[in-house]
Structure formats: structure tokens, C-alpha cells
Symmetry: C2
Subunit: 207 residues, 2 copies
């Protein structure tokens, strides 16, 4: 049986939040590491890190309205630097707990081991398998609802050697990366198929 929803304003707040947050589909799951100018490191869980372009290599991150303190966004704007770190099952609960309001650095509060690499200002998550050093390139304020979209350039990528295919594809499933749906449902994945570059059928018939 199909159920339809409209008049979202009349829905109870938590119901609406869960409903809309789960609608768009599966999301990436990354910890973003930053450090303030005064040297306080911050680590926060994001499901809104997306691909923006491959050349130059750009990622995008969507931030909620800046009405409460958003240390990650503030640190990125102040310093220009951040790291993206894939989340694995081995530290999923700690990663989730970064969403609570801590008085100290999430690295300390949650015993997540910090790692500095090659002089880059922002800290990485040591246990993460797939990570990148990024620099702020553009900040966009979205008028519709006061969210902020930032575009960062990937300066350096770190990946387990055995997950990189000959054609450059990173086997993130093999690396243990997870996905999230809604606000709080975490999933592992099982690959169905890699499909070849799509061509119209009449062209295929000619090959």
C-alpha cells in the first residue's frame, strides 16, 4: 500500500525530520577534522559530503544554518583547512558520539586517535582507512534556508594500496566504509555489479 505525505508543516517535528532526512537516499559517512587558530582540534560527523568535480578535485559539504556554534565551519573559514575521514564499523559508535556537545575536543572526549600528516594544519583520524587533506575554495550561502555549502579542493588523498583498482576506482566497500540513511541508521554494503559505460543499444549492436 502506498502512503502519501504533503502539508509537511502539519507533521509532528521529529516525525517530519526523520521522514525528510531519510527520503533522499543513502549518504556518505565522514568525520571532518579541523583545528582552530588557537589550536583546539574538532571532529564532527557529516553525511553531507559530496563529489563536486574531478579536475580540479573538489568536494562539497553542506552545513546547517549557523545559528548555534558550528566549530567545524568556523575553523574551516578561519584557517582554510579540513580533513575528510571515512568511518568504519570499528569506530562507528565514537563517530556517532561526536554529534553530542562536548566541552573539550572530540578526539580527547571520545579517545579517537589524532594524526597529523606531512605538515597539514588540520588533524586526521588515525584509524580511518580513506582520508584527504582539503583546502577551502568557495563558500556559498543558500538563501532558501540559511544553510551553507562549501567547496574544498582535495590536496592529498590517503588510501589503502589494495583498494585502488587499475582504473582508479577505490573499493570503498572493501575498505570498510559505511553509509547512513536518515539521521541515525548505519549500514554496510554489498556490491551488486559494476556496470560498463552506458551507450545507446543500437550503438552497442554495431560494436
Amino acid at each position: 500500500m502506498e502512503r502519501s505525505f504533503h502539508d509537511f508543516n502539519s507533521l509532528e517535528k521529529i516525525f517530519r525530520t526523520n521522514l525528510i532526512n531519510s527520503f533522499t537516499g543513502f549518504k556518505s559517512l565522514n568525520l571532518i577534522g579541523t583545528e582552530s587558530i588557537s589550536g583546539i582540534s574538532n571532529l564532527a560527523l557529516f553525511s553531507q559530503v559530496i563529489h563536486v568535480g574531478a579536475n580540479p578535485p573538489y568536494v562539497g559539504v553542506l552545513f546547517r544554518p549557523n545559528s548555534v556554534p558550528r566549530h567545524t565551519l568556523e575553523n574551516i573559514i578561519e584557517t582554510g583547512f579540513f580533513t575528510i575521514n571515512h568511518v568504519k564499523e570499528s569506530f562507528l559508535v565514537s563517530a556517532h558520539q561526536t554529534s553530542a556537545r562536548w566541552d573539550i575536543s572530540e578526539f580527547e572526549a571520545l579517545d579517537i586517535e589524532k594524526e597529523y600528516k606531512e605538515g597539514f594544519y588540520a588533524p586526521f583520524v588515525k584509524e580511518s582507512n580513506i582520508k584527504a587533506a582539503c583546502e577551502l575554495n568557495e563558500r556559498i550561502d543558500i538563501k532558501s534556508n540559511g544553510t551553507h555549502f562549501i567547496v574544498g579542493e582535495i590536496k592529498r588523498l590517503y588510501i589503502p594500496e589494495n583498494t585502488v583498482s587499475q582504473d582508479g576506482y577505490i573499493d570503498i566497500e572493501k575498505a570498510g566504509s559505511l553509509t547512513v540513511s536518515g539521521l541515525d541508521n548505519y549500514h554496510k554494503t554489498e556490491s551488486i555489479v559494476r556496470l560498463p559505460y552506458a551507450k545507446p543499444r543500437h550503438q552497442e549492436a554495431n560494436l
Copy 2:
């Protein structure tokens, strides 16, 4: 063994494209349905549909630079309407094939059944389990690389009754929705856990 990449410009093009496209993590998998003013319907596969806000309910879609014809973006700008349709395994290959360049509507070319609902201008994918009628709200041009980000408002959601939890969460795994990594690796999911709202540990101890 960890392998690191930088100087992305020196990488072979396909290698770089696969590498960067798979880095950010798992992505949503949706078909976007539109119809031109002249009545030609279009269906295209997107991995860049994201959550932007729950109240009002907003989704975002990132489009590549408009240097080649982008019928989906053109139709959305012309008419203001589009549909988002989750992809299931039963029509995954057809969904993937929408990426080829067809001279006729992808619905016809690929035998994907079209559905119009409640007078909404843009067509839905009948076989899709989870879908929404959306209206264009904002268009943003990203200076970094000429991509376009549009914000759409969800006007109506259609969901199988048995996938909506009491708290509003849609069990998209149960509904058969898939996820994609890189350009072409399609995955199903297996839920690990839904974690409760994160609170600092000392607060939990007091509860």
C-alpha cells in the same frame, strides 16, 4: 600499505575521474523525471541528490557544467517541476542506461513505465517505491568549476506504507533502495544499527 595521491593533474584522466568520484563515499541513487514545455519527457540517473532541510522540506541536486545539453536541468529551469525516484535492483540496468545519449525519451527507449500523479507536470517512474514531486526553489552557480546546484521543495512524498516507522524514519533498505560508489558500482545495504541521539557521556550517566 597506505598509498597517497597528490598532483592530480598529472594522473591519467579516467584514473583521476574514478579515483575522485569514489573518494567521497556512498551516494544516493535516484532517477530524476522531467518534461519539457513541448511535452517530451526525460529521465536521468543522479548520484548527487542530497538533503538540504526538513522544514520546509528541501532537496539539493548538483549538475555538471552546462557545456553539453543537460535536458534535466533545462526542463527544471523551464517548467519548475521534477520528480525524484529511488532506484531498485529490478530496474537498475535500465536506470544505468539512461546515462547514454538517446534521441527519444528515456522512458520509451528503455521501456521504463511512466506515471503521472495528481496532475503534477513531471512524470514519475511507476516501478519506483519511494518518490517525490518537487518544485524548483533556488538555483546556484558554483564558481569553482561551473557546476550548478539547485534547491527543490518537496511538495508530495509517496512511500510504501510498511516502510514508515512510528518516528517518521523511512526504511529505505527494506524498500529496496540502492546506493552507488564511484561512477558505476551499485550496492545494496545491510543495516548495522540505529544509534540513539548522541549525548555527552557524563549526561548519560545522570539519566
